[in-house]
């Protein structure tokens, strides 16, 4: 029914937010009843939302064992990074060939905004970085690629919250973004791909160091 769809959508967004921001820690068990009460929603839309999140690999539903938040571990991280490295680079390569002047204007605007964000405003920072990657994917003019990237980006967002307290590579990121726009404008696919690859690689290197430092698979007590 439509109402359920509306509520499921809202439940999905709210729970996803909780998982990504680590309010629901990696590996933590999920009680759907309690979650429903917390969100002031029926248990039906909450269960539907959890199924969707399982599909996103953010929730694990093992048979007969209740639910829990997908853990973060090094092998997983490496697999995700392999995918994103390949796909983001491809997006940058295609965007260098296909970006319109409007696309470049959008990317420039996002970059300018990124430069004005203060260090403390992490939410805005994530949001802008996400939008930047989405805009590249849009400029690549391949909706299957864009949809696939969106899915992996969702998995990466959680990692970002995980490493956030430990890092300060933001200024280089802005410079990287600017270089990338220059490459796109010049239509230089090789350079665009290279910058994007480095940008994504750098992120995963940071994540990996921190995960290994924390030396656990799941890190419920991060930070």
């Amino acid at each position: 029914m439509e109402l359920n769809r509306v509520d499921t959508q809202r439940a999905y967004e709210l729970i996803r937010e909780k998982i990504i921001t680590l309010e629901l820690a990696p590996g933590a068990p999920i009680n759907d009843q309690q979650l429903g009460e917390e969100l002031e929603m029926g248990v039906v839309p909450v269960r539907e939302a959890l199924k969707l999140l399982a599909h996103d690999d953010l929730v694990v539903i093992p048979p007969r064992h209740g639910l829990y938040v997908a853990p973060v571990n090094v092998p997983d991280l490496e697999q995700i990074s392999e995918m994103r490295l390949a796909l983001e680079s491809l997006a940058a390569r295609l965007a260098a060939r296909r970006a319109t002047p409007d696309d470049l204007t959008v990317l420039e605007t996002l970059c300018q905004e990124l430069a004005t964000v203060t260090d403390g405003d992490t939410r805005r920072l994530f949001d802008l970085d996400h939008k930047f990657h989405q805009a590249i994917a849009r400029a690549a003019r391949n909706r299957y690629l864009a949809a696939t990237l969106e899915r992996y980006f969702g998995l990466s967002q959680r990692l970002w919250y995980l490493i956030l307290p430990h890092l300060g590579f933001l200024p280089t990121a802005v410079q990287q973004h600017l270089d990338l726009i220059d490459a796109l404008r010049a239509g230089d696919a090789d350079v665009a791909e290279k910058i994007m690859r480095e940008h994504v690689q750098m992120f995963y290197d940071q994540v990996k160091i921190i995960l290994i430092e924390k030396n656990t698979d799941s890190t419920p007590e991060a930070g």
Partner: protein, 681 residues
């Protein structure tokens, strides 16, 4: 009683200014099975709606196959400025032209911004789009607005700039973006901008409402499609309504017109709906509600969306009867709780009114007839910032108080000092006074509440004016009749008639006997009064309405019989006319309209016609000759309208395509698909 083996139960709900009405109907036999009225809860309309659903006591909620609702939500949100904050981006508009005609006030938002771009009247780009400027502005405004509306010059002919702007804005922010060309194909640029801004400001308002209604349905185990009435009386699915809320403007009055048609079975009539707050007039011809050519207007704003041609005046059963500054009787525009009802709920009010009767003339002034009372405790501390709000609320804890008593307690001289407007608007305080409903109690024509209180109040007001209560009562009915006849006359003739001069010329005492001042030289007014009261010994004038008048709403019988007499026509009150508006909410057809534009393709800046464009929403097709283009537009329009009607919940829609000549070799192809709503299962 006839019982069909499987009745198709449908639930119609109308949320009016005073009451929320609900009616349970068997769709095919058109039989009203049950109805219920509940007070409208403006702060959250879904509360009143759930009470109505509860009140109808549906045996088997799962048997309900459709719910349809008409709502004043959009209209109220606009009039009361409760819409969301909108940034309006005007592309290719000439700021100097706008300001020289002082049209800035018509945009329905104070945040409007001009940018380079737009197209000319042949769909050619008139200037390059200033996308960087637009994005910079959007970033600046990001945290101060809730939605963005975009209107580009001549966008119905060429929506390219609007689409590019939407695409770019949605890449940098999650704010909803509304485009002018998606709401209207009319070329009037200001109306389109206004429509886009209003639509943007209503988006979340209507979405929240629809979700609330759906929740209420779910709690009552009703699993059925939800439809919403448009301003022209047709229906659309809730999902359409959530996207184009601006089309629900005037949906309430339109629904009552449809209900009048449905219940009376007549095809030509004047429908007059007398509610608690307003009286709404609409015209039905050949079984259809007549549509306004100009588009719906609300408050000070003119939109470009279709709406029934109707006139609404602030006169209803619960209109406040007061003395104006010239000490003459006035009815409305405020709506108050009738004293009969207040005294019925709080007997001490009745006792106080009886005591007031015994007082001397100078101490029984009409302001003692206005009572204020507490409707509910304020939800938070937020709105108690008005200087006397807390004191005022505390003072009303033990029950209603007359206005002079409140002022004395708070040591104030004038109501204005209280600043209680927000408390009334939020439905924390209510106001009560003498109303037409009280007069009906005095006459015994209505006896639901405390008639003695009404009698006392009428007597106090009459004595204050040195008159007999019966005489005063008669005068109020005269005045109401004049207001209704005046409204019908101006509605149908589309002419103005100013009655204020005539009324002011007559003294308070002679108001009844002598409507027409000998000093007044105006023939229009003379004609009007002479037709109602026949004052001239030699000249008889009459107004004759060549249509029956259909009365809708609970007070219709009492408030309209004289108007029908004055207009020399019959008053028809169909069975269940009290809830005809709720009937109208389900009786309408589901409609979808698609408009395509065909216009010449010019060669660059020259005027040689190279062929024709057919602009269908965002799609543009090119043709060598006009006939080919028109033929294509007819076929595509038909298909699009059909698809939209089916998606909107119509069963077997029929399509009518018409072609309108907009001048300058430009044609508007309008395809309308209409069908009965598709019931669940």
């Amino acid at each position: 009683m006839v019982t069909t083996p499987q009745p198709a139960l449908v639930l119609g709900i109308d949320t009016g200014g005073t009451y929320t009405d609900g009616v349970l109907l068997d769709y095919y036999s058109r039989r009203v099975l049950a109805f219920h009225k509940s007070l409208t809860t403006k702060r959250d309309l879904s509360i009143g709606i759930e009470k109505v659903i509860e009140g109808i006591q549906i045996g088997d909620p799962s048997a309900i196959r459709m719910v349809s609702i008409s709502t004043t939500l959009a209209t109220n949100a606009i009039v009361e400025g409760k819409g969301k904050r909108v940034a309006l981006l005007l592309i290719g508009y000439d700021p100097e032209l706008i300001s020289s005609f002082k049209m800035e006030g018509r945009f329905a938002t104070p945040h409007f911004h001009y940018f380079e771009g737009g197209h000319d009247l042949y769909g050619r780009q008139q200037a390059a789009l200033d996308l960087p400027g637009i994005l910079a502005t959007v970033n600046e405004l990001r945290d101060t607005v809730d939605a963005i509306a975009v209107s580009s010059y001549f966008s119905p002919l060429n929506p390219e700039h609007e689409n590019r702007v939407r695409q770019a804005i949605s890449s940098i922010t999650d704010l909803p973006v509304v485009l002018g060309h998606q709401l209207s194909t009319r070329l009037g640029s200001v109306e389109r901008a206004t429509t886009a801004a209003l639509n943007a400001s209503l988006l979340t308002v209507l979405q929240d409402f629809i979700i609330a209604v759906r929740r209420a349905m779910e709690r009552r185990q009703i699993d059925a499609p939800l439809m919403v009435v448009r301003g022209d009386g047709t229906l659309m699915s809730d999902e359409f309504a959530a996207r184009i809320p601006v089309e629900t403007i005037h949906s309430g009055p339109a629904a009552s017109a449809i209900g009048g048609h449905f219940l009376s079975g007549l095809d030509d009539m004047l429908v007059v709906d007398v509610g608690g707050t307003t009286t709404d007039i609409a015209l039905i011809q050949d079984g259809q509600v007549t549509i306004s050519d100009k588009g719906a207007s609300v408050g000070d704003y003119q939109t470009a969306v279709g709406a029934a041609n109707l006139l609404s005046i602030a006169l209803g059963g619960d209109s406040h009867i007061t003395l104006n500054p010239e000490k003459q009787i006035a009815v409305g525009p405020e709506r108050v709780t009738p004293l009969a009802r207040l005294a019925w709920e709080f007997p001490m009010v009745g006792q106080q009114l009886q005591a007031l009767r015994q007082r001397q003339w100078a101490q029984a002034t009409p302001d003692w007839l206005e009572y204020w009372f507490l409707l509910r405790e304020p939800p938070g501390d937020g709105i108690i910032q008005a200087p006397h709000a807390r004191e005022l609320i505390d003072h009303l804890q033990d029950g209603p108080r007359p206005l002079p008593d409140i002022l004395k307690h708070l040591k104030l001289l004038h109501v204005g000092q209280l600043g209680a407007r927000e408390l009334f608007r939020q439905e924390i305080l209510g106001r009560s006074g003498l109303t037409p409903t009280d007069l009906m109690h005095v006459e015994g024509r209505y006896n639901q509440w405390d008639s003695k209180a009404s009698e006392a109040a009428l007597e106090i007001l009459a004595h204050y004016q040195f008159r007999e209560p019966d005489d005063l009562r008669q005068q109020v009915w005269d005045l109401i009749n004049e207001m209704i006849v005046h409204a019908i006359l101006t509605f149908l003739s589309e002419k103005d008639l100013d009655l204020s001069t005539g009324r002011r010329a007559a003294g308070a005492k002679q108001q009844t006997e002598q409507r027409i001042s000998p000093k007044d030289r105006d023939l229009g007014r003379w004609f009007f009064y002479n037709s109602i009261y026949r004052s001239h010994p030699l000249l008889e004038t009459q107004i004759r309405l060549d249509l029956p008048m259909i009365g809708i709403g609970a007070p219709a019988r009492i408030m309209l019989s004289r108007a029908a007499e004055s207009l020399n026509t019959g008053l028809v009150l169909p069975e269940h006319h009290q809830v005809a508006n709720a009937v109208g909410a389900i009786a309408g057809s589901v409609m979808a309209t698609k408009e395509l534009l065909v216009y010449p393709m010019l060669d660059g800046t020259r005027v040689d016609v190279m062929g024709y464009y057919c602009q269908a929403g965002d799609e543009r097709h090119e043709f060598e000759d006009l006939r080919e283009a028109l033929g294509f537009a007819h076929a595509l329009g038909r298909e699009r309208a059909l698809g939209a009607a089916i998606r909107s919940g119509a069963a077997n829609p029929q399509v009518v395509v018409e072609q309108l000549d907009d001048g300058l070799d430009t044609f508007r192809i309008r395809a309308k698909a209409m069908g009965n709503p598709r019931l669940a299962r």
